[in-house]
Symmetry: C2
Subunit: 237 residues, 2 copies
């Protein structure tokens, strides 16, 4: 405790910032490892991916504690307060991205034994898009770049479109060959997990914008027309 | 602004508490309406459900602002600080539950025209379970009841088990009658949305526990064994 008081607030903020950056890097690796374990049917990588999620969880708890301590002892205002708020919000999103990655890795075991299974080339491309989105939003956070955050926020639609298209394709495989139904159902959830990771990136982008600008991004990027029916595979928009 | 300074901090906390309670009630109605619109094929109720989600979004933004203002102007400590932290965390979860409800309501339009479709009795029961979980966790919040929060937190496994069982059942319908594939795929996502609502209730329970006790609940209730493969339909556990 005394360390916190002696240390400058600047140093505390830097430490949280660094931990969040580390969480972002771990989440990105988690997504990458999860997809690779699935695509290569690599059980050992899958087990490691599940295991490594613990580090993200531990960092999440640690940053939360640092942020709460900072609020209690430093009583920050304005931009400093926004920094601490980001430290309360962003780790939650990264922790959930890690969980979703773990969910994908876990399917490696079942997917390995499913034959025939549909081609995974589009899923791979969708995964690459999500990884780029996550890397970009963590860059935007590092730079406190509101413009970049807004661009990333708008780009989430692209991931949603990919998701719908992967989903439709899986549906056609199921119909053409019922032996692929189980594998395709797993792949639908994997695609959905990737789409949800995109949503979490969008939430991070909102927080980055708020930290940098002191105001909230208006209007969710997703369609909000009440009369619009669900796109196939479309969800929490 | 001057109003905030004149008012007692107590009053501010009460106002946030009330808004969160209102959000909880709205989210619960959202889930209920979404399920009823789907199960009865009621387009108008579905449209209203999607529309009404805006109120939850508006309250979410409002509570966030109140909480940030309270942090900046009141610089709360200890239990008061935890109250404000809850006001920063819980609305996000409720907002996402509302979004998931909206996602279910949107599927009413497509599901209506899908025939044949599988019986929905188990999905309805799963929905009832999720509604009870949400009502219980909002009660626990209202009472700042750590024991109740912990019980609710542990009960999430039950929702996960229901989810796996609904998922498996849908898979068998798909295999037996490929004409049900599209309907079943939609229903899988609906079941998944319900399961995710359960996850958000778990997150709320964690926050309630923290507000009441000043410490974090340890060990996620979900299985975390790296060697354990994904249950079918199992995900971000």
């Amino acid at each position: 405790m005394s360390k916190h008081i002696v240390e400058s607030f600047e140093t505390e903020l830097e430490r949280m910032d660094k931990a969040i950056g580390r969480m972002g890097a771990l989440a990105l690796r988690q997504v990458d490892d999860a997809l690779r374990s699935l695509l290569n049917g690599d059980d050992r990588l899958a087990a490691r991916t599940v295991e490594e999620d613990r580090e993200i969880d531990a960092l999440d708890a640690q940053v939360m504690e640092q942020a709460v301590t900072a609020l209690a002892l430093r009583q920050p205002m304005a931009a400093d307060l926004r920094e601490v708020l980001a430290a309360l919000k962003i780790p939650d999103e990264l922790e959930r991205i890690g969980d979703l990655g773990k969910g994908i890795a876990r399917r490696t075991y079942v997917m390995k034994n499913e034959t025939p299974r549909p081609p995974l080339v589009r899923l791979r491309a969708m995964g690459d898009l999500v990884k780029r989105q996550l890397a970009a939003v963590m860059d935007a956070y590092e730079q406190r770049d509101a413009n970049a955050a807004e661009r990333i926020w708008k780009r989430d639609r692209e991931i949603d479109d990919w998701h719908s298209s992967v989903y439709r394709e899986l549906l056609t495989y199921m119909m053409e060959d019922p032996r692929t139904i189980t594998a395709c159902a797993h792949l639908m959830f994997i695609a959905k997990n990737l789409e949800r990771m995109g949503d979490h990136c969008t939430h991070i982008a909102e927080t980055v914008y708020y930290v940098a600008k002191g105001e909230r991004l208006k209007n969710r990027p997703k369609g909000d027309d009440p009369a619009r029916p669900a796109g196939i595979g479309d969800d929490a928009s």
